[in-house]
Amino acid sequence: MNILVCLKQTFDTEERITIENGKINEDGAEFVINPYDEYAVEEAIKLKEQHGGEVTVITIGPERAEQALRTAMAMGADKGVIVDLEDLGDQVDEHTIAQVLAATIREEDLDFDIILCGYMAVDDGSAQVGPRLAELLEIPHISTITKLTVEGDKVSVEKDVEGDVEYIDAKLPILVTAQQGLNDPRYPSLPGIMKAKKKPLTRLELDDLDLDEEEIAAKTEIIETFLPPKKEAGKILTGDLADQAKELVQLLRSEAKVI
């Protein structure tokens, strides 16, 4: 079975985010595999253990993102592809990423029976790349899965729908995106880490792919980046309900200024 995993390197979830000159400051930050992508990697390795085959991990990111691929390889992935889009600067959004992933898969002749992604990245939180990629590759997709079984070309999944479970049968080839609960990602073994650095890694840049820069340019624009307001102590209103409602309306007007 040929298994592809698309993953992103993101800030460690325990990292404190600071903003400098309107941009998120990366100095000294620790980076990890996006937690949802880590479920995808684990599931891919499990599929390989059950059915045989090969797991290829793909990422788009700067040089440091190689670390995330090496970690996935230490967990058991066989090879990696990293695409550096430095040339595009800020002109990158979910549309761009999906286009570049699709082009990479096509042009690197990466055969696949199944593609796994995290359902979203914890930094941008868009949850778009997986479904967009499936559309571009003209294959079906199922998002936010919490269980996956593959037999022959038959695929059965359990999908999280706002806390309920939906059972879906489908066929390979398919793209699925991982929700929390899909599995418990293994720790890479220490010998695995030593071996990972010898596994094959392909490095690509935009020029290596047959893409029209204008066509893949971001369709969205970031206007401002700011931190969420500091959490302040809450207020508990008292008194009879009519008075509370009155006070609430007044506070929403004068303090929160939302109405």
Binding site: R186, Y187, L190, P191, I193, M194, K197
Partner: protein, 385 residues
Amino acid sequence: MDFTLPEEMESLRRIVRDFVGNEVEPVAQEIEESGEIPRRIVQMAKEMGLFGLSIPEEYGGLGLSMVGKCAIYEELGKTHNGFTSLIGAHTGIGTVGIVQMGNKEQKRRYLPKMATGEWIGAFALTEPSAGSHAANLKTTAVRKGDRYLINGSKHYITNARDAHVFTVMAVTDPSKGPKGITSFIVERDFPGFIVGKTEKKMGLNGSHSCELFFEDLEVPVENRLGEEGEGYVNALKILTNGRAGLAARNLGSCQYLLDKSIQYAMERVQFDKPIIEQQAVLHMLADMAVETETLRSLTYRVAWMTDQGMNVIKEAAMVKLYGSEVYNRVADKAVQIHGGIGYNAEYPIERFYRDARITRIYEGTSEIQRNIIGAQLIKEYRKRS
């Protein structure tokens, strides 16, 4: 001078740090209270390859340099010392003898299973009559054809409750003193091998040290480690090799205590301000930081010297001595900064305070380390003049 670790070492260290923080730390209090390390944790450590740190790659281990091992020990030192001790004793004194002095056959038989942790290793030198005076062994080994018959006893042997493979020192020729001592690889199920009671200790809960009794213990000749008469030197070599590693574990514990103490001093308010704003408290933290950093430098320096194949008898004794003394001073200050909570058994600080204490005693007491350093100083002086 370049003090940065190679990238793959950093990767190893990061994974061990994650494992320690996410898996071991949450059960540290449970280990302390039950005296047992949850099986799940030990199993995970085995699957990660933590039991194979010292074993060459060709035998299924990681074959790490001393510097690499110290980076991992430092991370392991940041959690429950009983857990640290299980892995430290196995990968240190428990396996190093076979790695360094074993022949091909012995390595093939023991190392692959020790690398996966299927077989846990222990080191059995100390006896009731032979503590600091380690050469004063009463356990004897007498050759009978193709086997040795060993009689005697050992005590305080770390990992003995669960270990399968023991490096045992015994006297083959009582007329020769230290030169009459020989080392053996002994398996738990050899006839005549008896594991006695598990010692009750001040700390290191979850790490089990036991008495051993040998009653006509039968050991095949092919399990002799090195030649007859080499056992005492072997034991000293194994202990010397382990010293930087022990210091690295202590270093990790110091860093943990320093971090916890800074955090607490920032949060704890007395006299309307955080206690870190009291100079007396801040100075304690400064002293802890200086000693921890000094220990870090010395530890990696001795590890590096070991990797270069340099003679480190003196420096290994220094780092063992300094590492345990600093750990005890840092733990004492950590308790002081934490006040009542530092003395409370439901918080980790008092556990580190107790666990620190053993480091000045085992693998050669602080006094014995000073004796070694002093003897080396005299030797060096005589050589110069």
